[in-house]
Assembly symmetry: C2
Homo-oligomer: 378 residues x 2
């Protein structure tokens, strides 16, 4: 088993291994013994049997397990669901010493994390990410949030889980598309902070998949990178913004697509467009578009670029206006600096919008210096 300890105010462990769900009682005993536990998940995850497996594994050591199953999808990260979940906890008389488990991807993790952060001003919660993406991204770092109709993640809190179980077996069952979304974030970690990881991903014989023997080690490396960034900047004031590489454009694309484009593919789109922008406008001396393009294509992460052609430019920038990274007429973007290293650069939003307009115009005219490859993504 791989283990990463996150030394925040109340330190917690991220456990990475196969078969963790089956042995959840042993891994969670100190946190849930004799307590009421609410497992929140979605219909997809429940249909794979993970909810039943987890419930069966832990019910004996708790004072009772309740379950709460939502439909799948980003739309569930709503204020309505947040309020309903709070009401459910209150109706079941959950006290400050009881526990919530988030079993699912980033949507479940964010919604449940924010609920736990604010129910009775904070109760314990445990993350069990069932996707590669949520394992390496949203389950570490304590960012919890819900969406508003006006934009993603507009309401939330910084709140750390008490433990994270990354059961690698669960990453195998949600399908290749979902796994590839996680690879977008893997690649991001390499780009911003780890040239070795980036090189390893670019040079491997065959693309990483859920059965690859080195998956546990790679997940551990990403969790460590994220942990180190978060510890240095828990409240997202500096270094942590680096993790947003590709996210400014990525979030905008997700929102403009009404979330038909997934988070991972949104970020992949954002990363390649940011790279092209940086090369085109002289914002980097690292000419990486071609290799980067090839790497992203291996995981079929760029095919939704054709969708972006149909979006109004105003829709894209309107989404950015509400983005938290925009402060008082300026925007801070993350640009590639050298291999495995990015930098923050703040510029007037209008200047940035001009650069973006040029890239989008090239995209619409099929003049971007990239090739698309792989299946269409619905």
């Amino acid at each position: 088993m791989e283990k990463v300890t996150v030394a925040v105010e109340t330190p917690y462990d991220v456990l990475i291994d196969h078969d963790l769900l089956k042995h959840a009682a042993a891994h969670l005993e100190d946190l849930i013994q004799g307590k009421k536990v609410l497992i929140v998940t979605d219909e997809n995850v429940a249909s794979f049997g993970y909810l039943g497996n987890l419930q069966e594994a832990i019910v004996g050591i708790t004072s009772g397990v309740d379950t709460y199953v939502l439909p799948a999808g980003e739309a569930q990260k709503s204020a309505e669901n947040y309020v309903a979940l709070q009401g459910h906890l209150a109706t079941l008389n959950y006290s400050r010493s009881d526990v919530i488990i988030a079993l699912g991807g980033g949507v479940i993790g964010d919604l449940v994390g924010f609920t736990a952060a604010t129910y009775l001003r904070g109760i314990d919660y445990i993350q069990i990410p069932t996707t590669l993406l949520s394992a390496i991204d949203s389950s570490v770092g304590g960012k919890t949030a819900i969406d508003l109709p006006q934009g993603k993640n507009l309401v939330g809190a910084f709140y750390q889980p008490r433990r994270v179980l990354c059961d690698l077996d669960t990453f195998q069952t949600l399908g290749e598309t979902i796994f590839e979304d996680g690879c977008a974030e893997l690649i991001k970690y390499g780009m911003i902070l780890d040239g070795d990881l980036l090189g390893q991903l670019m040079d491997r014989e065959s693309p990483l998949n859920a059965l690859s023997g080195d998956l546990g080690a790679i997940v551990k490396r990403c969790v460590e990178i994220k942990r180190d960034v978060v510890l240095e900047d828990e409240h997202d004031l500096g270094l942590r913004q680096m993790l947003n590489f590709g996210h400014t454009i990525g979030h905008a694309v997700e929102q403009a697509s009404h979330y038909k484009v997934s988070h991972g593919r949104g970020v992949a789109t954002g990363m390649i467009l940011t790279q092209i922008m940086a090369e085109k406008e002289g914002l980097t001396e690292l000419f990486l578009t071609e290799r980067f393009n090839k790497l992203l294509n291996q995981y079929h992460l760029l095919n939704q670029l054709n969708l972006v052609k149909d979006y109004d430019f105003e829709d894209l920038t309107a989404a950015m206006t509400n983005d938290k990274k925009r402060r008082g007429g300026e925007i801070t973007e993350i640009f590639p600096d050298s291999f495995g290293k990015c930098r923050l650069e703040t510029m007037p939003f209008d200047q940035y919008a001009g650069y973006l307009a040029a890239i989008i115009a090239d995209l619409k005219a099929d003049k971007l210096p990239i090739v698309l490859d792989g299946d269409e993504v619905a």
Copy 2:
């Protein structure tokens, strides 16, 4: 001007004086200059002209002032209003560097504080309490919350304001009943932590009122007491529970009355019933009911006790079941220990409910060892 500095992670000042609203620009310049500011208040406060005065005082140094006016009353501390206020901020494109001002009593302070704590995962907010109660209680300590249909303050966060302005002039205008509610909390501070303050309140020639020359000094003393308790126990794990003296029964009475009984009068009811319980059950050696009764009567804080006679006992204890102070079948109550000193005592909830049943039975049979005096409170 009186000033109390609260040295939390980001220290802030509580300013106490007359005429603060009029000079708000000078007192808030460092926090709001060049920023967008949303003032949230209620119709009562707005009708006294405070909203207009504040807006006029600060608009010149901000980049724009927006206002948001709610109806008055506890019912406004709802999840619906919380979500609507978040949506309003997003629609107005408030960024992380903008500011919200809570202008009003505890309801506005709690709702706005929780909104500020969670909009974009936290933006600055300023408290301008317009009642004695909110000045000495909810505006210091960082407890923010909203209510659910299942109970009061069930959802919230610990989040500190950047500054608190207590304009004593505003305490004069909201009526004697509201001022007296604040006196219930003054008396509570004396009971739990300051025998001098308690003696001073018991021995004064005429009751404190909004025009009393020593009001500023008394407010300062209460803010200091609360500050000291909060600093020692920011996350409400021990000492801070002391501040809940009278609140277990108080909250239950408020809820059972559907909030016809105000917070201050609920707490006064809770304090006297807890004192009588302590004497009756041998939980204290401090026999203070008579003097305590007299003091509370001076501020007409006990007349709603007649209302409590009509409540079902089950309604009262049902409300307590959801109270955050109840943990795993036990309840921690605060009992008077000596003059100006209370202690925490944890006991099985059933035992506590038995004591409470005895007191309520006495109340219904008009056998409580107290006298009621003053006007009926609707």
